[in-house]
Amino acid sequence: MENNENKCENGQKEQDHQIDYRRDREWLEKPKHIFILSEAGKPIYTFHGSEDKLASLFGVMQALVSFVQQNDDGITAIFAEGYKIVFLVRNSLILVATSRTNCSTHQMQTQLSYLYNQILSTLTYSRVNRSFEKRKNFDLRILLSGSERIIDNFLVHDNSVRKVTNDVFSNLTNSISIMKIPITDRNNIVSSIQSSCSKIKDLIFAILLAKNQLISLVRLKNQTLHPVDLKLIFNLIDCSESFKSTESWVPICLPKFDMNGFMYAYITYLSEDCEACLILMSSDCEAFSVLKEAKSKITDKLRRNNCFNAINQEIFSNGYNLDALNIPEMVHFVYKPKGIYQIICSEIKPPYTSVSEFKKLEGIYFDLYRKIHKPHAPLKLIYEVRESEAALAWVTTTHELYAVFQPTVEKNDVIMLVDKLFKAIAKDNDNLFIKNHPYF
């Protein structure tokens, strides 16, 4: 980074006063930076600090990209001692990530493309295009103002800076978490939604989620909701406390569904005594009152069918309990069946309950994931005995498992314990995962 900055000092007159990030140790030593700029080099977003004060740095990034483009080529990444710079160029936007962690280039690119989708979800593809067509050095921040918060939230989750939560692992594995609900209860929930919504015109998706975990998704016949889009919705819900107090009517673009058009989402929490969030998505911008009506019907039916209890029970539980399964030597795991973008994680228990220890756990999983999914040399099984834990990554034709064990565990026991876990998951499979999202 420093080299680049030297260049800009030579090239451009320094932009006067206040904090100079290029000399700010704290800013420089952040493990991760994200920058978004226009093709013209206009700053749009930075994760740390204020983009206005980094104009010269943005200029360098733009220069790097356009220099490589001149040769009909594209820049992907720059590797330097101890850190990595990854580029993603999409639709007049340049997204840049730098990392001092051991994230792979692929992981960082995935992350950048999520951010790109995040921008599209507020503006749509065509609107971004139109803006830049009109004026090359258009300041996209004018249109984006207010939605930086959503981007921030995504990044915070993506790399748990403050929180001890399993959400980070769903980002890692490009999946969503499913709330564990007994299949009969889930069927009841689905049928409650189906019966309340089947007659509503233009209703495309009905989503029920809690604690960043999916409870159910009901869809219009032949329409699918891409996990990327679903994740954008999850992120939107997660970062907005205001949804809890009022019902909202939000236009949203789901880039994988239709990158040029808006959908309208009716977002509301079910009730005071059940903090699950219901999202009803319609292509009709006038459907608010219809959907509001449907929501109260759903709430009634759920309450009547005792579904609130089933949901609450899971909201207040800490997650999949390994001690209850009599697998105490396993400290944590992430399990992902092949073919569906869904995972379950076990409860986070000591010693990983503190932020610093949890970061270590996260580091282990990032490391394992990177190693086992190496693009040119994927592995099937990794077993590592580390200083204070044993770690396992195992990819088979039917599932992926990432697990951490107590350091004193023996290899033979690990096989036995994993076997035990697989049996338990197989037994519980219907409650843990959703095989098919039903239609209205």
Partner: protein
Amino acid sequence: MDSHYLELLDDHIRFVAVSSLTNVFFDESNKQIFAVRTGGGGTIGVNVKGPSKDSVINFFLDDTGTIRSIKFSPDNEILAVQRHEHSVEFILFKDTQQTNRNRGDIFRYNTKSSTIHGFVWVSKRECAVISNSSVELFTINAEKKQIKSLKSLNIGIKWFAWYSEGNMALVSTTDGALFPVLISQKVITKLPKLDIGSNVEVPERDVTLGQLYGTSAILILQQTSNRLVEIVVYLLNGAGLAPRKSHVIRLGSIGRFAINIIDNLIIVHHQTSQTSMLFDISLSKEVVNEITYHNAIIPGRSIKPFALKLPSLSLDEKSVNCELYSKNWVLFQPNIVIDAQLGCMWYLNLKLDPLTILIADKVRLTEFLLQRSEGKVVLLKVLKNLVTDPVNGSLLTSLESIFDRINSIYSSWNQYEVQSQTAQPINLKLNQKNILSPPKSKVIINQNDMCLQVFNNLEDKPQAEDILMVYLQSLSKHQISAQDEISKMISKELIRNENYKTLEMLVEFSLICETKVMACFLLSYSKLNPIINQTALDMLKKISANEIIVEVLLEIGHVIDALRIARTLPNSDNISARKYLEAAQKNGDPNIFHNVFKFFQQRNLKQRGKVDFLKQEQCNEFVEHYETLFNSLNC
């Protein structure tokens, strides 16, 4: 320092000098000097001295003719005297204090016609008589006063020489050929003749018999075509002990020479120049047609002047310098110098100390000293001076060669010892070639000698590490495993120079000794650098000292690693929870404490069905510590 490397020992023997009345005989076998005085009254007074100053025998014999040769049996009980060409008398001498002999104690051996050249004692009761026609071996029965012929060898003999230690005679036949003849108890063996090459007859005085490095040797002085004198050395090591022309010693000058053999060194005295030269057939030299050609190790030097104290009544003793290399000198093997005119017999002594300076090439000096019977002390001193001298530029390369010489002998000794201590199956067909003989070298310098007497002052000197490493390398080159002492020395130096990487390598390749003691020694330095600690652990692992490893790991706070190893040990069910929990608490990492705590909880569960600790395990404080660490966080 005194640069004379040869001296006449003070411990000399005086005897009555040769005169018109006195004849002196020397018996090489017993190293006795016989001073025979023809007195009046038909008796002969005999005064016998030697081999040491104090052994003196005096007696009288009847004067029945001039004595030609006189020798005691090895036990001094029978005296053999030759006075005539055809007979030898034997006189019983049971009591040496008895001065007069009875006629009855005398019996004789007579030949019919042949002329007796001389006789030799082969053992206490066996005597061989060499005449101009035969070698005859007799046994003598003292009680019955009988002489019985055991063996005889018919051969025309002009002269003979005898070497008693080797039981070997060299006889010159009437046609000038030289034959070694072995005469031992009851057996006479004639060996193949010497290949002299020229037709020149060898006179008796040019022949020296002796032993070099355990092999009987015949040394013959010869003049080369350019009149320079050389010594041809025949060793009896050919097939069937056949003499083999093995070495030629180039003296490089003319004149008269005499030879002594001391400590397997051939010492050649040159009368003209009054110097003595030193030759060692074991030192490597140029070899032509399997014959090794030697030059003097160092230029000739004279024997140290010797002052003979004259008997005097006054207190201030007068002394007179003896003439060295005198014409009156007669030399006998191995190291005897007799001046018959002066009446004095000396033992010649080789001093090694001056040689350490005279032989400048230290590698050659080492080779030389390794072969000397008294070489060890001297060599150790030389080495010590060498390693403590900081300004020697070519030090390491020559040290490497020196260490290699020393260790090659050390290693062959080791192998010999191992073999001699290894039990062999009785029915094993012994392959002669596989049986090692003990190394011939006189000096064995092992690691302990080096550590205690050579490297002991080396500590903290800048060259110490290099020298010790060269020594270690030489040890390993010769398949000798380093022992405690040297290993410690090297480790100390490496640690002092902070050369931890090398230390690590030494342990990795097992070049220093691997014992618990050694590992603990390393551990005592572990505060200096973690690598030392790891190195010690590596060593402990190699010798499977797992209990110690556990303690070490606990000490440095690697509680999990300690626990992992402890689990593999026998009796792992009973490891003390308190010990590990205490170490984990001290470590401060909550993750580690958690894991250790959980481990013991699960152990409790397996053993007793409950996670709780027993009262006697005294783990309450750790349970509380766990609660404060984790359960409060959970709330």
